[in-house]
């Protein structure tokens, strides 16, 4: 029996995984399988496009005049049993009819409010007095789409995201709820710190910062944004994607990534790397690498730092690219399944397979 046949593939579970319908243990199994199975990963990408397209299905408001047409049909329908005609209304006093009508008008407003109150999320004050659109929150309140929640140096709040997870808003922070629907929860973090603990499937929870959009890929993480608009992401569990225009950086468990207001996400890194490695890497987020800086990084790097170098490689100019490619191949070689020639030709699929392997090294380091 071949290895392929022994593996229990997860292709039949991918939609349920993306829709959050799997138990936590099954979600974990699917996630881990995807890391090592290119076939299921390819299927996952196709299904994800299908899921995203489905999430874009519009809501159509009913056109005007439907009730009038319906009433016409009701009135002309001989089989309608005329059930709606109040049988004793003729004998009711006028005040009783008027009161009933008034009751129905008032209660219809209440019902419409009740049925449409799905928007927004509950906020709970944890310490001090957070402000919701400038008004103090004592206990709990509903954060509606478009509203702002802010904390001062002495207050802290928790947002419960229905079926998604929770977000702790630390002191001196300001967030806004931009979208809230089953398929997408979008917050904006203008300044301060939040910690997100997300149990929903990937790509349902998003946080907009001035430098990049943080996309939950199934994780727990902390996100800081300074007054200037720069940020720092630290991932405790799972992965987080940082997206700016066409550029996406995937930050795995145990890694951190700076976010520049002007340039977007930097390179993911492990705090445990050597100080010289970290210092050089940070410098190269804003300037082009020289052969000397590449050699310094390669000297200082451990295999688990290979992921930082992979992102640097992706953006390296041609003068330093082959030096970095060779160094990275020695430090943390791509798996045998990846064709070396394709790597040298900078083939996108081959590079992504290599990145998956490097992420596993980071993952193992975090464990």
């Amino acid at each position: 029996m071949s290895n392929q046949e022994q593996i229990e593939h997860v292709s039949e579970e991918l939609s349920a995984y993306l829709n959050g319908e799997l138990k936590a243990s099954d979600s974990q199994r699917v996630r881990e399988h995807l890391l090592q199975c290119p076939d299921c990963r390819q299927e996952f990408e196709v299904i994800r496009v299908g899921v995203r397209a489905s999430q874009e299905l519009p809501a159509y408001p009913a056109p005007e005049g439907l009730w009038e047409k319906l009433e016409e049909a009701l009135d002309s329908s001989p089989s309608a049993d005329q059930w709606w005609i109040p049988q004793r209304v003729g004998s009711w006093p006028l005040w009783a009819v008027a009161a009933a009508v008034m009751f129905l008008v008032l209660s219809s407003s209440l019902l419409l409010l009740t049925l449409s109150s799905g928007d927004g999320q509950m906020v709970f004050s944890m310490e001090g007095t957070p402000l919701l659109n400038g008004k103090p929150v004592s206990g709990s309140a509903r954060l509606a789409v478009g509203q702002q929640l802010s904390t001062d140096p002495a207050s802290r709040a928790r947002i419960e995201l229905d079926r998604v997870g929770e977000v702790i808003v630390y002191p001196s922070s300001r967030i806004r709820l931009l979208e809230s629907r089953p398929a997408k929860q979008l917050l904006a973090l203008d300044v301060g710190t939040i910690q997100a603990q997300i149990s929903a499937p990937p790509r349902l929870f998003f946080v907009e910062t001035p430098g990049a959009l943080a996309v939950d890929l199934g994780c727990t993480y902390q996100l800081d944004v300074t007054e200037r608009g720069d940020g720092l992401l630290q991932v405790d569990l799972g992965w987080v994607g940082l997206v700016r225009q066409e550029r996406e950086v995937r930050v795995p468990e145990g890694a951190s990534c700076r976010i520049s207001r002007e340039r977007g996400p930097g390179f993911p890194y492990l705090e445990t790397a050597s100080p010289r490695f970290l210092e050089t890497l940070e410098r190269l987020e804003s300037e082009s690498p020289s052969p000397a800086s590449i050699r310094l990084l390669l000297d200082e790097a451990r295999p688990q730092d290979g992921l930082s170098l992979w992102y640097l490689l992706r953006e390296s100019p041609s003068e330093t690219r082959s030096l970095l490619l060779q160094g990275l191949q020695q430090l943390a070689p791509a798996p045998d399944s990846v064709d070396r020639r394709e790597l040298e030709e900078f083939d996108a699929e081959a590079l992504l397979s290599w990145r998956d392997h490097l992420e596993k090294l980071v993952w193992d380091d975090a464990k």
Partner: protein, 181 residues
């Protein structure tokens, strides 16, 4: 007045209550129908048919059941009846995506409206069973259990239909993947 009291008023023959029920649900019914058949005239016909049916049978509704599930069942049946007479869907069997396709300049210029139209067309080409599961999930936000109840099938069937529907849509819309956020 909560939903239960409103339904009781409808069952007692209160036309104002029925109007309120219509006001509460007309957008959801129309939206489901519109996404199902991708045709405004048919969607209006389906919406009218659904509320006529509701009006005729609300006396049989038992309040221990979920009204929304009952309504979903009526809407899906009305949509399926409409499609049975039209039979215009084409299942996208074995349409393998070109995973190397880059999207191309022309697709890059597609406006959101055109993307929405492409999605609407792709959905309308799914078989009715797949479409019903997909729309209950995404336009109504139903769980797998709620879809299973509305469609009178098992949760496993719902999972399998949704997986198939997503895959077919993903294959059909693969070239638009960078535009489908």
């Amino acid at each position: 007045m909560n939903e239960g009291e409103l339904i009781t008023a409808c069952q007692a023959g209160d036309r104002s209550a029925f109007r309120m029920l219509f006001e509460c649900y007309q957008d959801r019914v129309y939206s489901l129908a519109m996404n199902f058949c991708n045709d405004a005239t048919q969607a209006q016909d389906i919406t009218q048919e659904v509320f006529l049916k509701l009006f005729r049978t609300i006396g049989q509704f038992r309040q221990e059941a979920s009204f929304t599930t009952w309504l979903h069942r009526i809407v899906v049946n009305a949509c399926l009846n409409q499609q049975r007479s039209a039979r215009r869907w084409v299942e996208l069997e074995d349409a393998q995506p070109d995973l190397n396709a880059t999207g191309g300049g022309q697709e890059q210029q597609l406006e959101r409206r055109q993307i929405a139209e492409a999605i609407g067309r792709a959905v309308s080409e799914l078989s009715p069973d797949l479409r019903a599961s997909l729309l209950l999930r995404y336009t109504e936000g139903c769980s797998y259990a709620e879809i299973a109840e509305a469609l009178n099938c098992s949760m496993g069937t719902v999972a399998s239909r949704l997986n198939r529907a997503h895959k077919l849509l993903g294959q059909k819309l693969w070239n638009l993947r960078s535009l489908v956020k």
